[in-house]
């Protein structure tokens, strides 16, 4: 599906990750996609980037960096099979110095683009938006997915954080959808 994305749409998806990171969110949600689209220059009447940014910050608490202590849980799990992680650590540190042994985050199953996204996963809703943007492109008989299709995908996912922010800001979702469609059909060859 991602091979149909135009460069601008790809940039927006990558930018959504930057937005999520900037807000210390550990998932890319619809609000980060919206932020990325606004950042890329797509305009939505009545909506500004700073406003959405503030709303995204308020609506989702920062989650990055507050994971439970994995090392502690690992130590307990290893103890169950007779391995003393603290002892291992002490032995290593005696030779290699303090904090020499750092345990890497566990490997997860990832598809290539998830790896390319550098490990910030999408929320199911944001993934749905990406699928909906593909569906919108197909509906408009277009073989590419542009940032406008992504925005249409966001609009079709009613009830997501992005549409909530837009509705609360007084954006007319129906009118915006029509405007995007017009713009897309005009640029279609």
């Amino acid at each position: 599906m991602f091979e149909r994305f135009t460069q601008a749409a790809r940039d927006a998806v990558v930018r959504a990750q930057t937005e999520a990171r900037g807000l210390d969110h550990d998932r890319i949600g619809t609000e980060h996609l919206l932020l990325a689209l606004l950042h890329s220059g797509l305009t939505v009447p009545g909506l500004t980037y700073p406003h959405v940014h503030e709303q995204a910050r308020r609506r989702t608490p920062a989650t990055l960096g507050v994971e439970p202590d994995r090392d502690q849980a690992d130590a307990a799990a290893l103890k169950a099979i007779g391995i003393d992680l603290d002892q291992v650590r002490r032995t290593i540190e005696a030779t290699f110095g303090p904090d020499a042994l750092s345990l890497p985050p566990p490997e997860q199953k990832r598809s290539w683009w998830r790896r390319a996204m550098n490990h910030v996963p999408f929320t199911p809703r944001a993934r749905k938006v990406l699928e909906l943007s593909l569906r919108e492109a197909l509906r408009l008989k277009q073989r590419f997915i542009a940032p406008e299709h992504l925005m249409l995908g966001i609009l079709r996912d009613n009830g997501g954080t992005a549409t909530q922010i837009m509705t609360d800001a007084g954006v007319d979702l129906t009118a915006l959808g029509q405007q995007l469609e017009t713009a897309l059909l005009r640029q279609a060859v």
Binding site: A77, L78, I81, I83, L85, A100, L101, L103, P104, P106
Partner: protein
């Protein structure tokens, strides 16, 4: 129960979750140790081939996995 009997009980715990969780922790420890030891070998001037032989893996495999995070011992080799 003493700590020793606790341990014995845990080691024989039939709950798959306990055993599988230990495998995950062990894998993570293994990765941590491998990173540390490969970096150390590089600092000692070992070639990727020598490290691969010691780890019983292919040179390509060890290079692909570690070259990005370990400084090259010999700038010519990278």
């Amino acid at each position: 129960m003493t700590e020793a009997t606790d341990l014995a009980a845990d080691a024989g715990n039939p709950d798959p979750r306990v055993g599988l969780r230990a495998v995950v922790a062990l894998r993570r420890l293994l990765e941590g140790l491998e990173n540390l030891q490969v970096a150390n070998a590089r600092r000692h001037g070992w070639s990727w081939q020598e490290i691969a032989d010691a780890l019983d893996v292919t040179r390509q495999g060890v290079h692909k996995k570690h070259a990005g995070r370990v400084p090259a011992a010999d700038p010519q080799e990278a």
